[in-house]
């Protein structure tokens, strides 16, 4: 992992230096990127990092440079990165970071320097509620609420009336619980148990037994990545026969590798990209999603694509869509260009992307709707679209 | 007193005769030890031959225990130490010296209190075992012959033994290593007179096995009775030396270590 990464980093830095030196003549567009390519969120950050290398180098006749830095899943490092990108590399826009805490840390710097920022993190609080700071911040990943509604919809249409929740004892688990409880209450679904566990726990037997004792129709596991395997494995061992929901936080190959046959049959909301090939041809973003999947898998091997790289790709699509409009108003590298870029992104309409269709507004800096998620089932070690 | 002197005198003559011919086990020249800037031992010369008991007597704090610690490699020392005809390097290690047959029975005994008598003895043979010898059980039987009391107590924990038994165990444990040089630090310390007598009888008997014994004692009377040769250590220096009988009749020794009360150790304390 580190070697090819260092090479791309060096290449990016060299091109960045070259670009700044010649900026007056060519007026390249510089995009700064900070992702968590190492540390606990590395399995999310690595595909994101890989994706920037696949984005087009020229847009509307202008050269676009991506300067990619690693923040090691550390909010302090993310802040340092964005300060460096803005002051030294004079970037026109910043993409990042992978996680919600890192994105929140970067947001302050972006707003202060009036530089638009596109976060790849999951939580809605990155763009809500709208205020002076979030004026500059956009986000490509679906909000948890998008995903939670998919689960609730599935439950009501399949006559599942009660659910037990088990989630991380941290912001991810709490966030999911809150979003889900809000929507579930509105739809008259009873939450019969709510349990927490640690990412590093070696056993969740106690929680699972308590949940099973409450006899829920379904279980929702509010966890991300491979630690989400443990509750499902324990549920199966203890003989739970109901429906098990996971969240989109598990949509990567590592989860399937670690989970193996223990996670078979789990239902989860995912971005349509994860099951792009199985979508009907009429699905609005099928073509765009398939395009990204094939580009990524050509470069990194079959089955290597993950939802997270898709968020980075969508950030690229938003930028590329906005650049021609911004160029009409100002020169890259100027304060005016950054503002124009921001305005152009905010008015994006009907832009099909890997994960959905963007319709942004002054109030909604995320811009996806119901088309941005579908229900998938884990079957035979892969994701199957639930029709 | 005179009778004792006479006995010592006869011992001395035979000891003197043999002293010149037996191989030297330990030859110490110009040994100095310092704790930081304070020099605790100054320019000590000392010689021990095979099958010989050499005693070092002197008051509390004269540096007797320091001398043994330095010889055993527990403390760094300057000077020349020749052991079994080989000059010792600067990095003397306790473990290495144990392997070469040097053992120390320390003043505090340093037993393994939560282990049985048998296990304590067994560990005395640890280094021989590690070196490939498998005769620890026979050696233990020999030790039990010397100390029948230990045989009775073989299952008992060392920490529950009486003072005399503890000393016997410490000596027995040292003998398990089949030493060439046995160093005893204050074997009489804190023991009842009867037990002291028993211990010194055994020390005298050990001599017959050919082991060289360096006996450090405050109980000068008892020590000089069993020893062939003696050194008097005062404030880190050898103030007197000579065959035990000569020392025992030296007025300075009588004055300081033997004279008062005639009770030996009690006088020196």
């Amino acid at each position: 992992m580190p070697k090819p990464f260092r090479r791309t980093l060096v290449a990016a830095l060299i091109s960045a230096v070259a670009a700044t030196a010649a900026s007056t003549a060519l007026a390249d567009i510089n995009i700064g990127v900070s992702v968590s390519a190492t540390g606990p969120a590395a399995s999310l950050g690595i595909p994101e990092k890989n994706t920037f290398a696949l984005l087009p180098q020229t847009v509307a006749g202008q050269k676009v440079n991506y300067i990619v830095l690693d923040d090691a899943t550390d909010p302090t490092a993310a802040t340092k990165n964005i300060k460096k990108l803005i002051s030294e590399n004079k970037v026109d826009l910043v993409v990042g970071s992978t996680t919600t805490p890192n994105s929140l840390a970067m947001m302050d710097v972006a707003a202060e320097n009036e530089t638009p920022m596109i976060s790849l993190a999951g939580s809605a609080i990155v763009v809500e509620p709208m205020d002076a700071k979030r004026y500059w911040v956009f986000k490509t990943a679906q909000n948890d609420a998008h995903m939670a509604t998919a689960i609730v919809e599935y439950m009501t249409s399949h006559n599942l009336q009660s659910i037990a929740f088990i989630g991380f004892a941290d912001a991810y688990g709490e966030g999911w619980y809150k979003e889900f409880a809000k929507i579930a209450e509105a739809r008259k679904i009873r939450i019969v148990a709510s349990e927490r566990y640690q990412r590093n726990d070696t056993s969740v037997t106690g929680q699972i037994l308590k949940m099973i004792a409450a006899k829920p129709d379904a279980v929702l596991i509010g966890a991300a990545g491979t630690p989400a395997v443990l509750p499902q494995k324990s549920l199966k061992e203890k003989g739970y026969k109901g429906v098990i929901f996971q969240t989109h936080g598990v949509a990567n190959a590592d989860f399937l590798r670690v989970g193996g046959k223990d996670v078979e049959g789990a239902l989860l909301p995912v971005g349509p990209m994860m099951v792009a090939a199985q979508l009907p041809d009429s699905y609005p973003n099928k073509k765009v999603a398939l395009d990204y999947v094939s580009k990524y898998e050509t470069a990194h091997g079959k089955g290597s694509v993950s939802a997270f790289g898709g968020h980075a790709w969508d950030a690229g699509l938003l930028i590329n869509h906005a650049i021609p409009q911004a160029l009409k108003k100002a020169q890259p590298g100027s304060k005016e260009f950054r503002k124009a870029l921001r305005d152009a992104i905010e008015t994006t309409q009907n832009l099909p992307a890997a994960h959905g269709v963007f319709n942004l507004s002054a109030q909604d800096h995320q811009g996806f709707d119901q088309r941005a998620r579908v229900m998938a089932k884990i079957e035979g070690g892969s994701w199957k679209l639930v029709k | 007193m005179t009778a004792m002197n006479a006995m010592n005198a006869s011992n001395e003559s035979s000891a003197e005769r043999e002293r010149g011919t037996r191989p030297v086990v330990l030859d110490v020249r110009d040994l100095s030890v310092s704790y930081g800037k304070v020099e605790a031992l100054h320019h000590i010369d000392l010689k021990i031959r095979r099958g010989e008991i050499v005693t070092v007597i002197g008051p509390n704090g004269a540096g007797k225990t320091t001398l043994l610690a330095a010889l055993m490699g527990l403390l760094p020392a300057q000077g020349e130490i020749v052991y079994l005809g080989e000059r010792q390097g600067a990095e003397r290690q306790v473990e290495q010296l144990v392997r070469q047959g040097m053992t120390l029975v320390p003043e505090k005994r340093e037993l393994f209190g939560e282990m049985s008598v048998e296990d304590n003895l067994l560990l005395g043979a640890f280094d021989r075992y590690r070196g490939g010898h498998r005769d620890e059980l026979e050696t233990m039987d020999q030790v039990f012959e010397i100390f029948p009391r230990l045989a009775e107590r073989r299952e008992q924990l060392a920490g529950t033994l009486s003072g005399g038994e503890r000393q016997m165990l410490a000596m027995g444990r040292a003998l398990m290593a089949k030493p060439k040089l046995l160093m005893l630090d204050e074997p009489s310390l804190g023991l009842a007179p009867l037990i002291i007598k028993e211990i010194f009888r055994i020390v005298a008997e050990l001599k017959k096995t050919g082991v060289a014994i360096l006996l450090v004692e405050q109980n000068a009377r008892a020590a000089l009775q069993v020893a062939d040769y003696g050194y008097v250590l005062e404030t880190g220096e050898v103030s007197l030396e000579g065959p035990s009988a000569e020392l025992a009749s030296d007025p300075r020794v009588i004055e300081s270590y033997l004279g008062l009360g005639g009770k030996g150790g009690a006088a020196a304390r």
Binding site: S203, V204, T226, P227 | E91, P106, F112, M115, L123
Partner: protein, 345 residues
């Protein structure tokens, strides 16, 4: 809570408690012999599990590079020492032990694809890769400062822990791994389902504990380790060197750690940093035993496992809080009942 749930929780608690007990024993052993509070113990749990997982995935485990690197470093230090003290004849054996054997192991891994080997051989290979790291770490990090205070040793111990965690991330990545179960057997007891793997963990832990008991009570090396723990000076005078005792205790502790990792990796997902928390719970058990008594430490560790299982049922969000808060009354009780023991002799 009905009886069935209580039984299931008890079973879960004993399974985890058995692992914690093993680690607690290793911690007590290392502390008693070397006065090192062995924080990196947990990393060896993770290394054992992840090395086995790598072998099963047909990948070359990163621990091999660590073994080669540490082996070379130890060889360098030892050869420098041998040159200084003019003990040239030691050099070939130093090279063979620290470089030759790891290279041979690496050669075997290159020559035979490890994924095709039977599970038992994979386990042995994984242990052979991880266990020598323990004495090597002792040689490089702790032996030069063996006489330092407990606090200094603790600080070095934390440094080693942080280093090993970082290397773990580098070798195995941020994502976890699980290994297939040693057995798919399961037993029905009443309504409850008892997993074969769970039984295996408890049985293997019990066997290992009995084996350790025999090692300490019946073998001269085991007795030598106990002797060093009881009386360092006395042990030195018997020719039991502190270095040998230290290396031996680290080897045993690493073996116990890596073996625990191998045991639990089919039950739960192990990450590069999972070991720390597992080790910490063993540590709580060891603290209950005052870092001195083996049976009390083992009992304390099983208690931690049970407490953890039942508190995860009653108040899952506060499970860790409950487990670690347990230290406070235990320490309070110990400080009131036991007399203060001087740390240095």
């Amino acid at each position: 809570m009905d009886l069935q749930i209580a039984l299931l929780l008890g079973q879960d608690g004993i399974t985890n408690g058995a692992i914690y007990a093993l680690l607690a024993l290793a911690l007590v052993l290392v502390f008693a012999v070397t006065r090192v509070i062995f924080i990196p113990q947990g990393e060896f749990v993770a290394y054992g599990a992840l090395t086995l997982a790598s072998l099963q995935a047909g990948k070359l485990p990163g621990t091999l590079w660590l073994l080669l690197g540490l082996g070379a470093a130890v060889a360098l230090v030892e050869i420098a020492l041998a040159l200084r003290t003019r003990q040239m004849r030691r050099i070939p054996s130093i090279l063979l032990l620290n470089c030759g054997i790891p290279l041979l192991l690496g050669g075997i891994l290159f020559a035979i694809p490890p994924a095709t080997l039977p599970l038992a051989v994979q386990v042995v290979l994984a242990l052979m890769l991880v266990v020598p790291l323990g004495p090597m770490v002792y040689r490089l990090a702790f032996q030069p400062i063996a006489e330092a205070s407990v606090l200094v040793l603790l600080i070095v111990s934390i440094a080693v822990h942080v280093t090993l965690i970082g290397l773990g991330l580098l070798f195995f990545g941020a994502e976890g791994s699980r290994t297939p179960a040693f057995t798919d057997m399961s037993f029905e007891i009443g309504d409850a389902l008892l997993q074969g793997q769970t039984v295996l963990v408890v049985v293997a832990s019990a066997v290992l504990i009995v084996a350790l008991y025999f090692f300490f009570e019946r073998t001269i090396y085991g007795k030598a380790l106990r002797a060093t723990a009881m009386n360092r000076t006395g042990a030195r005078l018997m020719g039991i060197s502190a270095t040998m005792a230290g290396k031996l205790s680290f080897t045993l502790a690493t073996l116990i750690g890596a073996f625990s990792g191998v045991l639990i990796s089919p039950i739960t997902t192990i990450y590069y940093d999972s070991g720390f928390l597992i080790g910490l719970k063993g540590f709580v058990g060891a603290i209950v035993g005052g870092l001195a008594s083996y049976p009390v430490a083992a009992a304390g560790a099983v208690l931690v496992g049970l407490l953890e299982a039942y508190s995860s049922f009653w108040a899952s969000a506060y499970k860790e809080v409950i487990v670690f808060t347990m230290i406070i009354p235990v320490l309070l009780w110990r400080s009131l009942t036991t007399r203060h023991v001087e740390e240095e002799e």
